[in-house]
């Protein structure tokens, strides 16, 4: 089940090339991710308060067309089935029907001090239920 959020590009997010800086897409992907955890019934702030962290261990993005100031962007996200203590999310950023970028992040479950741990079973089940099949959305199946 993909999820999408919409918001307008901030002036701060542009650079002198006149489009959104490439690092900003990862901030937007994180914005989607926060909403995804809330949608799963496990707000990320509450997870952290309970000692469950999901730091990014890998990220990637392909940039297709620059997003522009003040235009509304739509960030869509596809959660993939967790494997052990890792989970991957694929993202697409679009503006006015144009795909601006497609990317992904991989997360490992850790505790506050960065030690790896299991994904809590209840959350694992929710993730399995919400996960999109590999062929759906951007991203390479199997990676």
């Amino acid at each position: 089940m993909p999820l999408a959020v919409r918001f307008r590009v901030r002036y701060f997010e542009t650079d002198q090339m006149g489009v959104v800086h490439h690092a900003v897409y990862f901030v937007w992907f994180e914005h989607l991710r926060t909403e995804y955890f809330r949608e799963l019934g496990a707000p990320y702030g509450e997870l952290e308060a309970g000692g469950v962290f999901f730091p990014v261990i890998e990220s990637g993005c392909r940039y297709l067309d620059g997003a522009r100031y003040d235009g509304e962007v739509e960030i869509s996200g596809w959660l993939r089935e967790p494997r052990g203590a890792r989970v991957r999310i694929d993202y697409r950023a679009a503006q006015k029907g144009r795909v601006c970028a497609e990317g992904f992040t991989v997360h490992a479950r850790t505790d506050a001090s960065g030690r790896p741990g299991r994904i809590p079973p209840e959350l694992f089940e929710k993730m399995m239920a919400a996960a999109s099949p590999p062929g759906e959305g951007p991203g390479e199946a199997g990676s």
Copy 2:
């Protein structure tokens, strides 16, 4: 006539003190400002395309209580009557009923190369009509 926007705090906007970094409030004030220009019927992107820029020439902020990740913040803005080619906006950032910060920005109308110029009369009129009186909202009257 004050205007308000609401959005959730992004993880990127926090720092290791566990609250939003003080520089981020200026990004939020700018977010409100963009909506204010749209509300005036003069989207800032269109103004720039027409050679009308409003760079910040002065800014200030008092920090009262830290805004926290994922909580919704409300940014309110009070446009003040323009004086010549300058205009001031006062802002308040609040989260769950707590005032987090109050600040202001002053802008000068310039062209693309930074040369000062007049505020276009039509826009000036709209600003005069929308402006909040000095006693309303945060900010020091007369400054």
Copy 3:
């Protein structure tokens, strides 16, 4: 005794106006501040580890001339005598001899949970010894 740091403007720090975004100056002032604490023999990271925090409670800046990508900027800072548990620093950002901005921050000493506390006496003494007189550097005397 003023202190100065020099570094080059990053591309990320520019916006579509072609100059450095106004919020970035506060990040630069913080960069100077970190060096100032180190110079005082009290690295800020060590202070935090010992429960001594100095969150920003007020900030302000006047923007005079836009700083540009890749050019070296010099940030100078003037620590003012602490008053009780508060301390003010004034800053100047310059590029190629042009003053780009002048600003200030005021800090309150707190503990990790944000409760006010005294500046540790040893640090207070170092700050008194390093402080610049009000007439030196930018900033309004007495504010």
Copy 4:
């Protein structure tokens, strides 16, 4: 020929997990890239002024260990031989001998409006001469 730059982590660059936010590494890689172009005798600002742009078309990063506030980081970069109008750079970020992250960016040569174009022959030659062989530094050979 790899190149390296060193600077200290800024407070703004941390997030509430207490380490540097994952998006910031791309800002650091860009910092290295700017120095690389200067080292090649082709400062990026001058390239842009001459209509030669190298927007990022792909990026990726693996995060190994969190970089921390105030500690010095070293960013190393390995330019790869350009292929047609594209060029790849691999990066490593380390702090106190610990590798924090390894990443890459791929760039396409465009003009100011985003249209693809050839890498100017003189610059192409400089890049070929400076390029590191695939087996040197991080990154997958052949990707």
